[in-house]
Symmetry: C2
Subunit: 331 residues, 2 copies
């Protein structure tokens, strides 16, 4: 009998916040390896905000999408030997048979040498979220020393890295997050100001924290928080739109038409998906790794134990239950 993978399927369309009913745990017996394939055993799995809107495009019955760090336990591919750690877009499953040369979209890759750092970071600061921060902020916001930067969703896996990179570039940095604990953590990361949007008036708090106005905005949330930030943007301000977590479980909010500010302040806004920098993937990982080794970049992980708890970890993350990267450790 072959290896049996445990898989989480998407069995009911999301409507509002995900619930247990949207997911079903199944088992799948895997076929023996063909030439060019390897068998990978999941060690750490990722739950990310993007999964909520993306899964809406898949039919019910699909495997839940997502990246994982896995250990190669059997191999018929010379470049992916047994024992190596791999990152792959394998979905929510415990075992995967993969032919890396035939993989569509983002191909699996061997983890670079993280030194003594845990391999789970390949899901966070040394993987997609870290690269999202690195490229999405530096390439689109093009921050300059002395400028004022605002980050929403600042205590998340991406936002917390954006704010720290902004500090490394000599900017004043304001983070917006959803609890006093998160705001406290942002201050320990070096953020100059942190605003709790659940207890403070964001517009008034921003006016105080950004007396010279806002030059760069890294947007993870959209909606009314973004509306407030827009009002304080400076001439030639840049806005990088990474996500809109505020509306993933609902429809988009109504906001004031932003076009007038776009004209008179000559603002520039660009949305992105990090895969556009696929060709420079290792550059981002190695830059963040270097900053970590120098003690200039900190991270946090919110770890949920047990593959059985994937849906719970996902639902908690969407409600803001995580600080830093939300991951699941397969026990």
């Amino acid at each position: 009998m072959g290896v049996v993978s445990r898989n989480w399927l998407y069995v009911k369309k999301f409507d509002g916040e995900p619930t247990d009913e949207n997911f079903q745990l199944t088992e799948e017996e895997l076929a023996a390896l063909q030439d060019g394939e390897f068998l990978a055993q999941a060690e750490f799995l990722s739950v990310d905000p993007y999964m909520r809107p993306y899964m809406g495009r898949f039919p019910v019955g699909s495997l839940m999408i997502g990246g994982q760090v896995a250990k190669i336990v059997e191999s018929k591919h010379a470049k992916f030997p047994v024992g190596a750690k791999v990152f792959g877009q394998f979905g929510w499953r415990t075992y995967t048979v993969c032919n890396p040369d035939k993989a569509q979209g983002d191909k699996p890759y061997l983890l670079p040498d993280f030194g003594t750092l845990p391999s789970s970071l390949a899901l966070g600061i040394l993987g997609m979220p870290g690269n999202t921060a690195y490229f999405g902020f530096l390439e689109i916001c093009t921050p300059k020393e002395g400028e004022t930067v605002v980050v929403s969703g600042a205590a998340g896996a991406v936002g917390s890295v954006v704010g720290q990179i902004a500090k490394l570039k000599g900017c004043q940095v304001i983070g917006i997050a959803g609890s006093d604990d998160k705001c406290q953590w942002l201050k320990t990361l070096g953020f100059d100001h942190a605003i709790n949007y659940k207890t403070e008036n964001v517009l008034e708090a921003l006016k105080t924290a950004a007396p010279k106005g806002i030059d760069c905005y890294f947007d993870n949330v959209g909606g009314t928080i973004t509306e407030a930030v827009m009002r304080l943007m400076n001439l030639f301000g840049r806005i990088s739109v990474c996500g809109t977590i505020s509306n993933y479980n609902t429809g988009p909010a109504m906001v004031q038409d932003p076009q007038r500010d776009f004209v008179f302040k000559q603002l520039k806004m660009e949305g992105f998906i990090v895969s556009r920098w696929r060709d420079r993937w290792l550059e981002g990982i190695l830059a963040n790794l270097d900053w970590i080794k120098q003690g200039k970049l900190q991270y946090e992980e919110t770890v949920t134990n047990g593959f059985d708890n994937m849906p719970k970890a996902f639902m908690d993350m969407l409600k803001g239950g995580n600080t830093g990267k939300a991951i699941v450790k397969v026990e």
Copy 2:
């Protein structure tokens, strides 16, 4: 006694649509010329949408702002000789004493040789609006052959040029305007489709006219028309925000939060004021002039006769009474 200029002043803050009460015609006796100065007599004056929001920043009692084509009738500046035609940001006045070397902001300039074309074009297709179309569309939208381009405010001084340049670049072009007559005119200019937003459902009409989606959007209006265009933008679409005429006489409308589309379609949007290309000003004018001479670029002017009618021409233009460039001819 010196030359007397007739001047239109801004004497009451705009609130909603401008009315006669916002303006007052006065006379001013000008001092004798100093060295380095010239005296210019207005021939054609411009009324443009931007004047509505801009004047709100000036105190009551200010001269109305605006460009004009004037003839130099007296001069103590070697490079601005008597008889020459000049474009200057002189405001709503019949005579101006100007030291071009000390002018702040946009400096006055002698008109290039338009051949047999009328000098009034320096207010339209061979001036600020033409350059707004040339730079604002080509530099920000970066249109590619075969792409679908939408222009709002398409029958105006800027929009009508944008659409024609888009055709010259091999694009499919859809114009949105406010009357059947304007739509008819757009078709004669070569627009592939024209939508009358006052009688058609813009979103449904766009779906029909742009079956492959929209790659570039040149936005003159903002508000709900823009909201409809946004829904049909393609992956990596570009939006150039030139104006928001829809809300110059009112507050901004509420629209659906656009951020989600920005992420998943990786859209790019940039607002601009054409003076950012001041250093390339003549390039735009000469390019448009060349296309006109080749018969590839057409224009229309809506001419109001009489300096006394400046406010009327301005108010009519804001209501969409003009096709092409709205100008006033001093009688």
